[in-house]
Symmetry: C2
Subunit: 695 residues, 2 copies
């Protein structure tokens, strides 16, 4: 998937060099190994200019030289296959591969006779190859390297921004944003800070992300107009991110034909509606030739959708898909559809069932360019959920798996919570079916043509991009996992540490590496310990979702309950006696979750209602587990705080910021511990076996 | 207390005659009895013009005549004592009273030989006398009436508006307002709808209210400037309400010397600060000669106060009092001071104790024109609280008792909740001390010079003034009780019904009277039944305070807990084993509340933590009482709804509005019932003895 020609193809690409913003994982020093060499860039194509400009800037900074043609003796050759003939090293590598490199967005990397060669079939691959060399640093220029083939596991690697143009009276500039304002919008219009947008694109390209949705899936009045009379604002963003291989997508309202087109209906099967979408989409592509497509949240939490017309979600998605198809665009259609006006008294309705009930029967009815975007769990980005059964239920539909980088329910970027281990568990979930599939297999598809991975971004106009400086690692890890779901969280953390902290430390972050691993490797499980026991979710303050409120959602219409009483807690989702949700899973999981004997403890209360005396696999009762994990979680945060006191990230301001946030994390963790323990102690009457204070 | 001369003394008073606004208790028909007569108004003085204009308009409408001098044979004489000599009927009445009528704001009413006479020493009294005749209607012109003396029990009868000028991002235009926008302010400036302001003043005068605070006690940036460069906005309101005997008061920020004066401090003992207040206050009186004074919320819920300078609240109040004294103004200093950042784990701190702990030691240290404004209960306007012990603890301080007409915690003007019975209980609370005092005695003072009654208004720019049409009765009853705390709620309801509904019904509201009594007389207790059992408060949704959330405030810093666990509920506030709050009461109440044997059941959980099996005086256990009252409360609402279906208030729109609100009330009452019952059933495990469904 090479990039369509840019609207400004010949322009010199300017590399953003921001002051007043943290460089994240691309401080100038990470280009030292490249910049100290003689570098040759060969080939044409829109992103080749970017590669050349990056190499040029690096060489200017670090004493190397950008060679102008293949006649010299470069240390590093970055060449499109079509131009490989211009220098021996590339020519030989290509010949050794049978004449073609590696396909869309991929690259070959090899080193022989003192020359490091990156070879790609398209300029996007060349750019990703460049960033691979950046990650390798000096290692890329040491010894011999047999040819390695790199290709993204999935062609679609997208970040969704829940950014509003108008500041929403409740949700603010960025819905569920914890990093200040939007990098795209402010107070009703574009920010105009395009250098920062480009710097963002560059950071994303270095991780492998290639698509961004620039506005909230909850599309309000002003935002809906991005599709028509405010399209120029989108085109301006597209111009900035294009040099880094990133396409722009747009969240649109299903009711656009009414809101914007003046039609009396948005019925997806109405010919006027279909024409309106076709014509409107044509205009979008006239302005943005490489436009990615639409994102739609329909019939969900108050957003309009096809149900109003008695149509299915396949009907809805296909109408938009048909409008996009002539231009190569896609529609991401979200499967997050449930009844948010549920009667809490009614224990037979189960929100966890909703997406499957709505969508599984539609398998095979979606167009090829309609991607069903499924949240990784059946509920809503809780700290611990099982994997959504929809992911295993629609083999004839292109599915994207949606993750949440922004830490809505996982500490809101005030808590350290490295999410890659959670995502890794999700992506590795399985196997099921005759071919032993996993979630990653579904997302990537047989040959990279799956729906891919999508995540809600955690970026804002904060100095550190992500509020909490360590939350940068989540953004980094998401991009890398979207490129290759087989990567290991601890290894990704090392990559991120090396890029972010090594240059300032003269190449080796030293003891900081150990501290960061100690703080971050287990931080998701630490967060789980001091917050939500055994798969229970939504014990958060309604509305803002920060901090504990055990009964906060218990008597609400949101379908998010734990049913704790004086005897026990949890939701019976079995087929035998509960809501039957377990039956939505394929074997063996339908059986694993159904039985108390096999259901994993960490999901126990998600699938079963058990007495507080129920004994877990480690021998502790449920109630004692609640006490123990809450005390332990707080201790772990306290230990992180102690470790960080002594850490030296080579940046006093960053050290101070993280220290301040760890103070808040500890305060909040203690609040969680005390409220959750007090709640369950008051309900159960069972004292802590170790006699600790429960208020 | 006659009104100082108006800034427009000679101007003709225009009677507001609004369309598009409900006339509340002054529909034109209530003036029929007066307007059909020959009326003589005698005397000068600022409000005499209002009395004359009212009589003139009434006569013009209903066929009577306003006589120009005492030479005719009037049916109704309204005369100042000084002018009583001008007509025989008034002269004789005055002579029979020994030459003086009845003092400030009072009036004499008599009927002899076919002439009804109202005689007053000041023009305010004449106006109140006029409205008395309005209330009497034809009865005022029937038979003979021996002379009756009427005087307000307290000279200070004030409504506080928690209206903001700028729309507050969380609290809106009116904090805790449930009747639309403000009648004074909109979107950052004055509404300019002065006819409505005057109509409001007229309604208030008809109840006896004589003071209004025009802005929120939480004084934000724009609002603080009403004291200085936006004073003209206040003067414009003062001009409109003056013809109805109403003074304007202003909520001011204690930090005004810093915010507005540019001083480095607001220390009340700093000479620059004292001078600033003196100078500023002088300018206020130059613009508004009859300005009432200041209202201050200091060191409370984030507002600045004297604690920052190590000064007492007496120091703070006295500095403002000294600035006001030369002009006859007063400062209302709120006693609502408590720690709103309490640790919920700490059971020794008791918010109920706070006002007493802060203020009782200061008794006798406040200036004569400093009025300590004390909320009627120790917490915050809950459905049921004991009376604040502060009221009995400061015999040498002028105290005002603060009520809340706006239904923040009592249904938010979506529920019928006639509050006069609650206020009546509060006012009648006692006796204590050697002279057997009651709350009403404290508020009125020995001779009407107590701090009086203050209430938070429930009025907004809604068509019905008060959101719920029946909530008008609360506003009416407050004014009347402030005038005379001995009045009975049911009788006040009759007055209100007669004024509001009788004219349209041709004089007799008929069966509507019974329906309204059935809906309203017991509505406060009905509300209590389906919401907060046995004196427990704050089981409401945090923030907006509407609808149930049993644990909503249980683990917060607000000091508002119920401590329910699997065994029992309630707050131990005894001296024997609890927070000692009972010791703040005088005998006998310190003993009555201390002992489980004598503590009234309706306050049981306010003062004691008891097991669910504790048996109440009626033989029911606490848990069964919770179930029973919640089922009963909902039944009562359902019955109200049935009754209203068949009612005819002579106004289809009003009928429809109340019907709609009763639907919501029933829905919400069911929600309260089910959530509270479910919560306590899940905690206690005790089934309902009558086997009803608890979800």
């Amino acid at each position: 998937m090479d990039q369509p020609s840019s609207s400004r193809p010949e322009e010199h690409v300017s590399i953003p060099d921001l002051t007043g913003v943290h460089p994240a994982w691309l401080p100038p020093g990470v280009f030292r190994a490249i910049g100290a060499r003689r570098v040759l860039v060969l080939g044409d194509g829109p992103l080749t200019g970017t590669v050349r400009a990056e190499a040029e800037q690096a060489c200017a900074r670090h004493g190397g030289a950008l060679e102008q043609d293949g006649t010299g003796s470069p240390d590093l050759v970055l060449a499109l296959s079509a131009a490989a003939g211009q220098t021996p090293a590339a020519r030989e590598l290509l010949a050794g591969q049978g004449g073609s490199a590696v396909g869309e967005e991929g690259y070959l990397l090899a080193r022989r006779d003192g020359v490091t060669v990156v070879l790609a079939d398209d300029s996007a691959g060349l750019l990703y190859g460049l960033f691979h060399v950046v990650r390798l640093g000096e290692e890329a220029f040491t010894g011999e390297r047999p040819a390695e083939r790199h290709r993204p596991a999935a062609r679609r690697r997208m970040l969704d921004h829940w950014d509003n143009i108008d500041v929403h009276p409740v949700m603010g500039q960025v819905e569920r944003g914890y990093s200040g304002g939007s990098i795209f919008w402010r107070d009703g219009g574009p920010r105009g800070d395009l250098a920062r947008v480009r710097a963002y694109a560059r950071l994303l390209a270095a991780t492998g992300v290639n698509a961004v949705t620039v506005n909230n899936v909850n599309v309000h009045a002003t935002e809906s107009r991005l599709l028509t009379d405010r399209l120029g604002d989108v085109a301006a963003i597209a111009d900035e991110v294009r040099p880094y291989g990133i396409r722009v997508h747009l969240s649109v309202s299903f009711a656009s034909p009414i809101r914007l087109g003046g039609l009396p209906t948005a019925d997806p099967l109405d010919e006027r509606v279909r024409e309106w979408w076709a014509r409107t989409t044509e205009q979008v592509y006239a302005a943005i030739p490489d436009f990615g497509g639409y994102v739609v949240k329909a019939d969900s939490e108050g957003q309009p959708g096809p149900f109003a017309y008695g149509r299915s979600h396949a009907d809805g998605a296909n109408t938009l898909a048909d409008a996009l198809a002539p231009f190569g665009g896609v529609v991401h259609w979200r499967a997050f559809v449930y009844n948010h006006r549920q009667d809490w008294r009614d224990r037979s309705t189960d929100r966890a069932r909703a997406a499957y009930d709505h969508f599984a029967p539609l398998d095979g009815r979606f167009r090829d360019n309609a991607i069903l975007q499924v949240k990784h769990g059946p509920m809503d980005f809780q700290t611990r959920e099982p994997v959504s059964p929809v992911i295993a239920a629609m083999p004839s539909t292109r599915l994207a798996v949606e993750l949440q980088v922004t830490q809505e329910y996982t500490g809101q970027q005030r808590h350290v919570c490295y999410l890659a281990p959670m995502w890794k568990e999700v992506l590795g979930f399985g196997p099921w079916g005759a071919d032993g599939r996993t979630v990653a297999d579904v997302a990537t598809g047989a040959s990279g043509d799956g729906g891919g991975l999508v995540a809600v971004s955690n970026v804002g106009d904060d100095f550190y991009w992500t509020g909490h400086p360590l939350a940068q690692a989540n953004l980094y890890a998401f991009g890398r996992l979207a490129w290759d779901p087989r990567l290991e969280p601890a290894a990704l953390l090392d990559e991120w540490i090396d890029l972010t902290f090594a240059p300032a430390a003269g190449g080796d972050p030293g003891p900081l590496r150990r501290t960061l691993h100690a703080l971050m490797d287990g931080s998701w499980r630490t967060y789980e310990r001091y917050t939500a026991p055994l798969g229970v979710g939504f014990m958060v303050r309604p509305g803002h979702h920060y901090g504990p409120d055990v009964d906060g959602y218990e008597y609400t219409p949101w379908g998010t309950y734990h049913f704790a009483d004086r005897d026990g807690a949890g939701v019976d989702r079995t087929r035998a006696s509960g809501t039957g949700f377990t039956g939505q899973y394929p074997r063996p999981w339908s059986e694993v979750y159904e039985s108390l004997g096999t259901c994993p403890d960490e999901l126990l209360l998600f699938f079963h209602h058990v007495p507080y005396g129920h004994v877990l696999r480690d021998g502790a009762t449920v109630i004692q587990h609640i006490y123990d994990t809450h005390f332990a979680g707080v201790e772990e945060v306290a230990e992180s705080r102690r470790l960080w006191e002594r850490a030296d990230p080579g940046d006093p301001a960053l050290h101070a910021r993280v220290k301040e946030l760890l103070d808040e994390q500890l305060r909040c963790a203690e609040e969680w511990r005390d409220q959750v323990n007090a709640y369950f102690f008051r309900r159960s009457g069972v004292p802590d076996a170790r006699g600790r204070r429960i208020p």
